[in-house]
């Protein structure tokens, strides 16, 4: 339990780092590190670890820690941008907002009805805080790739909540979720390239032609 909580705290700290960094490559790496940690976490929770569980964890780490970051860094290289220039909320205010959200998640999670054996862990507050940070990144960044990173963080948060259910989620479904995530990022990366080619920029603030 202590190890689990320690790792979850690291994930929470990584959230704040992701909020405070303007270099997109660094953010991608931070989220990749988060992905590796998240891939390994289920191993602490299984009652017994057999080949399927180990395989699932390996696939998770491979997709979240290696494949997705690779796709995203390649897309980043193709569109030749380095920084998130003008986030709608500045970097410092967004860190403060993220920290406040994390604190609030900790208080809020204490008031929830939890199953008795899970009361002591940080799983639920960490999940809510990470989802919140994902939403901050999604809504305040304007580069298409930053928004994709925000989506990844959001998905990581949901995955943390899924840790409560490790024994219930069948392997097939878990793999299906990972596959969807992978294909989703793949399609998003292709779209980023198209946006760059058509608009000579990946600022989604330029995508305003369609409105009433």
């Amino acid at each position: 339990m202590d190890l689990l909580n320690a790792l979850l705290v690291i994930i929470l700290v990584l959230n704040l780092f992701a909020l405070g960094t303007s270099r997109i490559l660094s953010v991608i790496r931070i989220v990749a590190a988060q992905g590796v940690l998240l891939g390994a976490l289920p191993l602490l929770l299984y009652e017994s670890i057999g080949l399927p569980e180990a395989l699932a964890a390996a696939v998770g780490i491979l997709i979240k820690g290696l494949l997705i970051p690779t796709i995203m860094t390649r897309a980043l290289r193709d569109v030749v941008i380095k920084k998130e220039v003008q986030p709608i909320i500045g970097l410092l205010p967004s860190i403060i907002l993220g920290a406040l959200g994390t604190g609030f998640a900790l208080i809020f999670a204490n008031r929830l009805d939890m199953a008795p054996f899970q009361g002591g862990t940080l799983i639920v507050p960490a999940a809510f805080a990470t989802i919140f940070v994902g939403f901050i990144i999604l809504t305040t960044r304007v580069k298409a790739l930053s928004q994709a990173v925000g989506y990844l963080v959001l998905e990581n948060g949901i995955f943390i909540f899924g840790l409560l259910l490790v024994d219930a989620m069948p392997l097939v479904v878990e793999m299906g979720v990972l596959l969807d995530l992978f294909v989703g990022i793949f399609v998003i990366a292709i779209m980023v390239k198209h946006i760059n080619r058509a608009f000579s920029s990946t600022d989604t603030s330029q995508l305003v032609a369609l409105k009433e």
């Binding site: 928004q147 989506y151 949901i158 259910l165 069948p170």
Partner: protein
């Protein structure tokens, strides 16, 4: 059987992806559609085929959705051959493969009785349909695809969280975490109430985004407006019906848990709000494809409203899934033809469709009359049944607002539709004058203009008219007489979602 229905279309998609000829590739579409429809009819006729495994079961509600989407897809696939002939200069590899793939994944949505698996399938439909919106390959379609991908993915991510909450509501009560639909339904009364309610809200937001309920509908006008008409039809009749089916599951579980009061209040508000938003945005709408998107928002609102009314309105609601799907096919396919003939989808340029395209124009007008609930078409019957249900259930305020919003939509939509079909068509500017400065026209939504300057002006052909005509006949037939097997199917579906044995 489930595996066949899922993997045959996907295998055909794979074949289409490696098939070399651009001219012949669209023929894969009707092959997949016919195979799928045959399997659907077979499985509907043979109840012993309806349970493949514990996870893959075809219940009555899913049978209905499967049939609707399969029929609609067949007509769309024939239309698509005609459509892709006009887009010969562009590779249709991704288009055909994704469309066939959608059919397979849609089957998985219908069959799955494991809510986790169903989520995977719904997200799969998002991913496989995104490249379809992008087919026209211009700035506006990129923007639409990006919004669809991002809004859709985030919405669906929330649905995953809701699915987890649902499993946790069972775990928290010491029942063991499960996402098996039957388990959750039979233990519904024991589930933890706060977690169940939270999961209901999240799944409503998540799958509601996919259905396009207001206020999560923002991607819809953009996507439907920029996607080819045939894709609009597949979206408005197929993708939304699948999302509705997914939402039905959690609604059923909540009702079985005795939360009907909680859910019906939310759904009534949500449904009426969607209708109101759709009605308001339709007034003064100059882009007739965006107008159709708002019509889809409205009809998703009607479906949710029907659920909110509950009991007596459920027959009408399930029937509305059928009539809405078929009518949306008529509207989007004929709108696609008009768009092509005028190289514009703005009512400032598009006038006199009845003169230039007598058949498509007439079908568009007919589709409008049908979808707004005029007799003697199918949607009239289903909307009337919902209204009747509302009065039977004593929901007079909801019924009154329902009628008011229907009227609002009729006026708003009617104004735009009449502008499109009436009057004298502008001289053939659509082709000669616009084609040379295609880039300028691209800004005003002229998609066909970007094709080769030598393109012949579009005229109605057999392949692009016959499917619409067939769909229109079905819509008309449904309004006059519902065949007994279909009636049974709808009745069974309504009884099933009401948790009656």
């Amino acid at each position: 059987m489930a595996f066949l229905m899922i993997f045959v279309p996907i295998a055909i998609a794979g074949l289409a992806a490696i098939f070399p000829s651009n001219r012949l590739r669209p023929l894969f579409l009707p092959v997949a559609a016919l195979a799928h429809l045959c399997m659907t009819v077979l499985v509907l006729a043979r109840p012993d085929l309806k349970a493949t495994s514990a996870w893959l079961v075809l219940d009555p509600a899913a049978s209905l959705v499967l049939l609707v989407v399969s029929v609609l897809f067949l007509f769309c696939s024939i239309y698509a051959i005609g459509y892709l002939r006009y887009r010969q200069e562009r590779s249709n590899r991704v288009f055909v493969a994704c469309l066939c793939g959608f059919l397979g994944i849609m089957s998985l949505v219908a069959w799955s009785h494991h809510l986790g698996l169903m989520w995977v399938a719904i997200e799969g439909t998002t991913l496989v349909t995104a490249p379809l919106i992008y087919f026209n390959n211009n700035k506006r379609s990129i923007e639409a695809t990006w919004k669809y991908l991002l809004v859709g993915s985030v919405g669906i991510a929330l649905a995953l969280l809701g699915t987890f909450f649902l499993a946790y509501s069972s775990l928290q009560q010491g029942l063991g975490a499960t996402l098996q639909f039957e388990d959750l339904l039979s233990n519904a009364g024991l589930l933890s109430k706060p977690w169940l309610r939270a999961s209901f809200i999240l799944l409503l937001v998540g799958y509601g985004t996919k259905m396009g309920l207001a206020p999560m509908h923002t991607w819809k006008p953009d996507a439907y407006g920029e996607a080819p008409g045939v894709i609009g039809a597949v979206f408005a009749g197929g993708v939304t019906s699948c999302a509705f089916l997914a939402f039905l599951r959690v609604w059923q579980i909540c009702n079985a848990a005795g939360e009907a009061f909680f859910t019906s209040r939310i759904l009534l508000v949500m449904g009426l709000f969607s209708m109101a938003v759709a009605g308001l945005f339709m007034i003064g709408q100059r882009d007739f494809k965006r107008m159709l998107a708002y019509s889809s928002v409205e009809h998703m609102g009607i479906l949710v409203l029907g659920l909110g009314i509950g009991g007596p309105a459920l027959f009408g609601t399930m029937l509305h899934v059928v009539t809405n799907g078929m009518t949306k096919g008529v509207l989007f396919l004929s709108a696609g033809n008009i768009h092509r003939a005028f190289s514009s989808k703005n009512t400032d340029q598009v006038r006199g469709a009845l003169r230039r395209l007598p058949v498509s124009g007439a079908l568009f007008l007919l589709g409008f009359l049908a979808i707004t609930g005029s007799p003697p078409f199918g949607p009239f019957v289903s909307e009337f049944a919902i209204l009747n249900g509302a009065f039977t259930a004593g929901r007079y305020v909801a019924a009154g607002l329902f009628l008011f919003f229907l009227l609002l939509v009729f006026i708003g939509m009617g104004k735009t539709v009449l502008k499109v079909v009436q009057g004298r068509p502008p001289a053939e500017v659509g082709i000669e004058a616009v084609a040379p400065n295609a880039t300028a026209a691209g800004g005003s939504g002229a998609v066909a203009a970007s094709s080769a300057p030598a393109a012949k002006p579009y005229r109605d052909g057999f392949l692009t008219v016959a499917p619409i005509l067939a769909l229109a006949l079905i819509v008309l037939a449904l309004g006059i007489w519902i065949p007994a097997p279909l009636g049974d199917l709808v009745r069974n579906a309504a009884a099933f979602v009401e948790n009656r044995p």
